[in-house]
Structures are given as C-alpha cells and as structure tokens.
C-alpha cells in the first residue's frame, strides 16, 4: 500500500462522494459505488488500485469483492496508469464507416504510442471504446469529459497540439 493513498476518502473527495450517497435511499449506500469509484479515479490520476477500491468498499460498507466486480465490469474504470490526456477512441460502426480506424492509426503514429499504451512523457494514452452515442459526428473521440466530433487528421492534430 503506497502511503500517498492512505485515507484517500476525505476532504473534497469525501464531500463529492457524500453528495452522491444523498441521491439514493438511506439504506442503499452501495448505489454510490459507481460514482465513488469515478471520483476516486479522477482524483488519482485517472486509475484505480486495489487499495483505493478497498477504501471505497469500507466507506460504503460493501464487501471488497463487490467493489472489484463493479470496478472491473464497467469499461470506464482504469486499473493501470493512463496518460494525462486519455484519448477514448470510438471503435464502433458509424465511426468505422467514416474512417475512424485509419485516423486512429495516424494518431498512434503521431503520438508514437499504440492503443492501450501511455506516451513516454506521460501526456497521452489511447483507449479503444465502443459507440459513444454521438455517431452523427463520426469519427469521434472523447478526451477527459469532452467530445470531439467530425475529426479529420488536421482537426485532431490541432486539438492535440493545443493541449498543454
């Protein structure tokens, strides 16, 4: 257990999780498991560890295994370090039909990383995801919380160059 994540659920992290707990019936704290994992992940450079999942379990009164199940079932939780900017690349049909796959190959080339890897400077990682529900703007990707639609090589590279 790394000391830096000891008592992770306190201060702002705790306040944010508590706001979600309040959205569910009093005897259903477990319902806040998904938001809690997301918040913890966001505050931990974008990925979870066993220690962090255990803390979520303890905080919500869940068995650790129940939290691991949730954390590994849903695609948006990461269990390995990711880039400062994680590029969620849509792999599904409408994006594919409009050149999404070729564009992802160009992206890999530009960043010098393969899908699933983190760039040497830690700035970028690419993650293949399924349909993001914005197929009218295909091809698309999501970086952080933002969607970027109608991507071309030019617009994508410009976007990346502008990220600090």
């Amino acid at each position: 257990m790394s000391s830096s994540t000891e008592n992770f659920i306190q201060g702002e992290v705790k306040e944010r999780i508590d706001r979600w707990i309040a959205e569910y019936p009093e005897d259903q704290r477990q319902s806040a498991c998904m938001p809690a994992l997301r918040i913890v992940q966001e505050c931990h450079d974008g990925y979870l560890t066993t220690d962090l999942m255990d803390q979520v379990a303890e905080y919500l009164g869940m068995a650790p295994i129940a939290v691991y199940e949730v954390a590994t079932f849903y695609g948006n939780y990461n269990h390995q370090p990711v880039g400062k900017y994680q590029i969620n690349w849509c792999n599904s049909i409408s994006c594919y039909l409009r050149g999404g796959e070729e564009l992802r190959e160009k992206l890999e080339e530009k960043l010098g990383v393969k899908t699933g890897e983190v760039s040497a400077d830690g700035k970028f990682s690419i993650k293949k995801v399924e349909c993001l529900g914005a197929c009218g703007g295909a091809p698309i990707c999501k970086i952080g919380k933002d969607y970027h639609e109608n991507l071309t090589e030019e617009s994508l590279f410009k976007l990346l160059d502008e990220l600090e």
């Binding site: 019936p25 994992l37 919500l60 849903y74 599904s92 049909i93 409408s94 039909l97 529900g133």
Partner: protein, 426 residues
Amino acid sequence: MVYQNENCFRLNHLENSWDIETYVANGGYEVWKKVVSGELEPADIIEEVKESNIRGRGGAGFPTGLKWSFMNREAPGQKYIVCNSDEGEPGTFKDRDIHRYNPHALVEGMAIAGYVIGASQGYNYIRGEFWEPYQVFKNAINQAREAGFLGKDILGSGWDFDLHVHLGAGAYICGEETALIESIEGKKGQPRFKPPFPASYGLYGKPTTINNTETLASIPMILAKGGKWFNDLGVKNAGGTKLYSVSGHVNNPGNFEVRMGTPFKDLLELAGGIWKGRQLKAVIPGGASTAVLPAEKALEMNMDYDSIAKAGSFLGAGSVIIMDDQTDMVKAMKNLSHFYWDESCGQCTPCREGTGWLYRMLTRIVDGKGRPEDIAALKDVSGKIMGNVICGLGDAATIALTSAVEHFEHEFVHYIEHGCSIYDRT
C-alpha cells in the same frame, strides 16, 4: 413536404431551448400543473397515452400506455419511475440531443409518468460519457425545483416528486432495463431473469416503470395536444413522430424528427443523400441490433414499424446506419461482432462464448484465413445463441450478421476463396 420537429425537437431552433424560461414560454409545465391540481387524472392520462399509440422508443416498441397500466398506483410503498438514457447501441444518438436541447420535456415527462404510476422518486440513468448532457439535465432539475415543479408539496398539491441521476460507466448492457436496475443498485450490470418484471419487482425490489428518454419526453406534448393528435401524425400501429439518428455514409448525418411513416427516401434526402456521389448499398434501419437491408428494399420502405418489418428488419431505436456502394460488408460485420463480444456481460454461456467465436471467425475471414466451412459455422453459432440467453444482447449479436450473410453471401465467399475483399484489386 416532410414535417419536422413537431415534438421533442420543437424548441431546437430557439436559442437557450434548454432553459426553463424558453420551455415555459412555449407551454411547458402546463400539463404538469393540470396533473398535480387533479384536473387530469391518472386513469385519463393512461387512456390518452394509449390513444396516442406511442410505442416505447428504446427499441422494443412496447405500447407505453399499456406498460403504465401494469402499475398499481394505490398499492402502498415506494415506487420508482426510471428513465433509460444509456444510449449505447451503435448508431443511436437521439437521447443525447433531447438532454441537450429539451431537458425540461424529459423532466416534465418523468414527473407525469411518476404521478400516474404513484412514484414519488425518479432516476434518470445517463451513460457516464454524456457529461455535457448530464450537466444540462442537472441544471433543468435545479430550475424545475426552484420553480416549484419538483420537490415537496408541488404547487400546493400535497404531491411530492423528485428526480435523481445515476451515471453509467461504460457498459452497453446497462441499457437493458433489468441490468440498468442492477447498476443503479451499485452492482455489475447483469440482466435479471424475468419474470418477475420491473412492474412488480424493480429498483430496490420495488414496483418500477422504465421508459426510454424519447418516450418520456414525448408525454407532455401528447397530453397537451391530445392522444389523437399524436396518433394522427403517424400511421397504423405507429403513432406520432420519431427521432431518427442517421449516420454513416451520408453528407449530412444527424438527428431528424419526422412523422412515423415518412418514406426512407425522404429521410435519406434530409440527411443530404449518399456522400461522395456514391450509391446506396445497404441500410441498418434500427441500430446495430437490427437486420441489414439491401438498397432496393430500403428505398421502398417507410419509416414505421410495419413497413420496416415488411422490408425484413426492425425499427428498433430508429438508428439508421447508411452504407455506400464501396462498403466492405464483411469488415463492417467484423466491426459489429467486436462490439457484441466486448459488451457481452458474460452471464450466459452462449452469448459470452458465441460472440467471441463470431468475432474470431470474422477476423480470420478478413485476415484472408477463412475456411470453406466458416459460413456454415457463422450461421450455426448464431443459431445457438439466438433464443438461448437471458436478454436481447446475444440475439442482437446475431441479427445483423445473419442478414448480412443472407444478402451479401458472395462477399463472404470471396474473402474465403480469394483471401481478400471483392473491393480489393489483386
């Protein structure tokens, strides 16, 4: 003339259509006021919704009025209204725009539905990637609370109703209604055996009604203008308007709200026609889970349940995926099969194993290593998934593929015999 934007998208042309001021200035929350004041009674609302002939917009097309009538409003105990905004079926992106452009119609629709079924609490399950739509919806909830349309003792009526959001985290299966319930309960999203149905054992074991975003957001207009008005916009067995998400090889992809029964040709024209001056090859009319139709069949059909069924497919969620005449059907199917393999929840063996099997076979074929028996094997594996699983995901994984093999078998054969696509020049 093609009529557009008469229902969920009626405010889209206005700046700040998401704002409560705009919504109220255009008749918003008038129905809700009549409901809580007792002027419109639950039984009458159900009759009106039945008359509108609206069928669930989430894909299955179940009559909404009938679904609501399964709930016993007077039964004691907590009940829930749940909105399904998980929107993960490839090709579907309409609910995202309802949140962005008309969130108050959804708030009002959920409030009304909640009142009818006797639910004082509602949850909107929004896929986690939809951060911006979530923010807009959250703002709408806050505005409605401030205006006294949500909360305790609404407008002095004694009725309480409040709304919450649950955010998904990247799992298509949570669009299946019982997986969605499991997910709100803080578990992995694996569908439940049915029965019991959610109306008797739903969220937290309580009676629950689940409807799609578009279904619920249509309710205020149906009640404002009458079930007959809505029904008459559409055609037989398909009342009203429908949001069609058009994507793929068109010049102007996007969402189009048109009347049920609008000719496919007209919808294609609204979407700017086929891109690059090419011809239409095939259409998936209702999202990745529906059968592929060759151009000649698609060009003859109208956009309603019966006409699309007659053409050999399904209206589904109204997600129209267009493929031009340069589309490699085998590769397209490989892409779809990856989706289902990735998204299978793993609970039922035929789906968990079968989807992987289909994906690996299609990969092998595309890689030029297909075997003569592969086409029969694709059909065989598909047949062994179909109908042998708890939910619709497994079935869905086979439908587009089976139809593609049926209509475009020569492309699969060419890959197997020549190791390349019919479009590859050797």
